[in-house]
Structures are given as C-alpha cells and as structure tokens.
C-alpha cells in the first residue's frame, strides 16, 4: 500500500465542516478544487457517490474504475471514472492506503437480509442518500443511486473469490484527498452501520475540507 501525504494546509481551506455519523452531505466540488475527507476518530466508513454536476446522468462507475485501473482497491493515483469513461476525480493523497468500492451502502432492506429481519428499522446509508436527494431539488432520486466508494473501509477479496469484511485499516487523523477533474456533485452518507466491523461498531464524525484551485 502506497501512502502519499498532502502538503495542503487546513487553515487555507475554503470549506471546512464536520459531518456527524449518520448524516448525509451533498455538495458541489468545482473542477480543480481539492477535496479531503478526514477520518477524525478512526475506523469510520464514508459512503460516497460522485456525479457530473452539469449532467448527473453521468456518474461514478465502480466497475469501470476497477477494470480500467486493473485493481479492486482505490488509493493515491486512482482515477474515479464515470459511466461515460471520463475522470470525475483523481485521488492525489491518501494516508490510509486502500479504500473499498465493492461493498456498497448499507440499506434497511439489505440489513434485513444480512443480519436479521428486524434490523431493517435501523438507520442506514441508503436512507441517508435518499434523505439528501429528497431535499436537493436537483432532479435526482433512487434511480441515481449506484455502487459507491467506501472510503476507509476494508473489504478484502480472496483469490478464491470470497468477499470478507475486515477490521478497518484506518486510524484517527488518516485522510484521503482528491482533485475534481470536472464540476462534481459529491454525495456522502457518513455510515451509521452498527452491525459489522466496518466502523468498529461505533460510527464517528468525519471532517470535510475543500481547497480552491488557486490556493494550492
């Protein structure tokens, strides 16, 4: 795993907010801006989707990203590809080393399958995504939800084709940073999952920072 640190100063960021666990966030990151997600307390999973802000029908494609880079995991150097084969974001710094894009977002319905029928009443990422889209007045809805990135999440696949959920490899203060290659809507659910080790059974807040292109 390659660790690449950033030399950007948080004091120079043009946007800075703390997103509590269980909350959603929808924000535009302009072409050339740099966006950082900081894992404040460690082991948090940050479920994230990306859209072309001018045409949200063009959106992040997990399988195209995996195939074109020839690797399952995301890290510094990864180009996050759109459904049209364009680059939405390039990961430019990463102190965690590896991020998942196969595990998707927890949902009431999938929780009922994975854990127990009555777990469907627990708060889930897909409910957070739908909450954000329901309020955004941007014309997006459930149809726009597809396989997302899980920043800081560790979902190893074995050579035999088994998929496992492992304890996180993140820690307090680790971050991932990406440069927008077009104007991009970023949709985040800061995961509320309490049933598996993806966020150590204790969902925690993350910090979101944006630097303007000129400030770099």
């Amino acid at each position: 795993m390659t660790i690449v640190e950033s030399n950007l100063n948080p004091q120079h960021a043009s946007y800075d907010c703390v997103l509590p666990a269980g909350e959603s966030w929808l924000h535009e990151v302009k072409c050339g801006q740099v966006f950082r997600i900081l894992d404040l307390e460690g082991n948090q999973a940050v479920d994230t989707l990306f859209y072309n802000a001018r045409d949200p029908e063009e959106r992040y494609s997990a399988v195209d990203t995996i195939r074109e880079q020839g690797n399952l995991y995301l890290t510094a150097g990864t180009k996050l590809l759109s459904s049209e084969g364009n680059v939405l974001m390039t990961i430019v710094a990463d102190t965690c080393g590896r991020h998942d894009t196969l595990g998707g977002a927890c949902a009431a319905e999938s929780n009922s399958v994975r854990y127990a029928i009555d777990k469907k009443y627990m708060h889930s990422c897909r409910d957070s995504f739908l909450h954000a889209l329901g309020h955004c007045d941007c014309g997006m809805d459930k149809r726009d939800l597809t396989a997302n990135v899980n920043f800081f999440m560790n979902v190893p696949v074995t050579p035999q084709g088994e998929l496992t959920f492992a304890d996180g490899i993140s820690a307090p203060g680790k971050y991932v940073e990406m440069r927008a290659e077009m104007d991009v809507f970023v949709l985040i659910s800061n995961c509320p999952q309490l049933n598996n080790p993806c966020n150590a059974y204790n969902p925690t807040p993350v910090q979101l920072l944006i630097w303007d292109a000129v400030a770099q």
Binding site: I66, E109, V157
Partner: protein, 242 residues
Amino acid sequence: MTEPLSPTNLLWEETLPGGAHWSFVMKRGTALRLTDVEGGANLSSLFYYQEEKLERYNMPDTLKAQHTAHLTTGFVLYSDMGRVLASVIGDSVGWHDTISGMSNAALVEKKYGKADYQQARNAMHRNARDSMLIELGKWGLGKRDIVPNVNLFSKVSADETGALHYAAQHSKAGDYVELRFEMNVLVVLSATQHPLDPNLEYVPKPLLLQAWRCGTPDEQDLCRNFRPENVRGFYNTELLFR
C-alpha cells in the same frame, strides 16, 4: 420443488447470435438455461423487477449478503430491496464475473478497430453498454438504470494486492448456467466479449437460451439454504406473493 429442464416442460428455446442483444421478461417459477454453444462466450446481463423497474440487480448487496465476489451454483442475485431476483440453480462453468463491468463504444473501437453498419452491415462491432441502452430504451429505461452487471461465463479474480486476472478460455463449448427466477424479472442481455478479454479479434460467441417452467423453491431448496442470509432473502421475496 424445482423441476429440471426436460423435453416435456420446455417453454421455448432460441439462439442468441454472438454480438446480439435482447431483453425479455421471465416469470416467477420459470428458469433459463444459458449454454455456451462454441466455447469462450460472455454474456453481460442486467436484471430488473418487471412490476417496479426501480428495483434492480444490486452488485454490492449480492456480494455482501453471500460473502462472495463471484457467482456459481447456490448463489442468488439480490435486488436493492433485499429480495431475490434469480437463483443460480445449475452451473458447469464455476465462476461468473460480477466486478468488471461491460464493454463500451470507446473500448471496442480501441481494441477491435472501427466496423460500423456502413462498413460491416450486421457484422458491425457492437458493445455491451450501447446494446444495454437500446434494450433498456424499449422499456422506458436509460443511462440512469445501468448498474454494475453480471458477466456470465467469464472469470476475473483478484490477488492479495487486488490486481485483476482474467481467465482466458474459461467457458468451454457446452458449458451452461441455469437461472431460476423468483420474481417477474426483466432480463437484459448482450452477447459481446468481456471487456478484459485479451483476444484482439472481434469474435463474440452465440448462446443457446432454453426456458422452462420449473416451479418455485421448497423449504429444502439449495439456494434458499445456501446461507442464512438467503433464508431471509427468500422470506422478503415471498412476502410479495402471499
């Protein structure tokens, strides 16, 4: 009890030519055997609940619920609503790819060169994404409905570092996979080469499709009992049909 395919319960059969695309509705209680006629086939596939097409095959939910990154006998295809769209009830191939997506126009032209209708008539080079868009358009669906797909008959594994490995000549002539449909499912297919197939010759392979009325699974069903998650997935599904 699920009935195996036999001459008496065959509903229809059809050959899907290499390069072709097709969509159709498979009813709950029917099954489809897909056979690789010549060997080396790939079939990019998408699945939607016919009554509510916003409910569709969900790759992450399918993988997570069954702790797998590939499909073979016993595994089921989950929708995003915690229900089972289809079950893999038979498979001589052993591994079907779920993680590497489908070919698109740029990829096909780069790999195989340009061969449009003006040059090649119906032997033109088709790609899976455009094929899917054509078929989806027939049902009022479009780009927003294209999600990570299943590549039947293809194997892509990953090593410990996550690097992908495409298995060449994975499917042999006569190899088959059988899907039993647990809901009324819109099936969308593109018989085009896998996007990681290193063969630089455009030679998409034909598939034989055979449908039969198999009935619905009983309590002892292999796919239902394959994992405890699937017991709950079938429960969620069967609530729709009580």
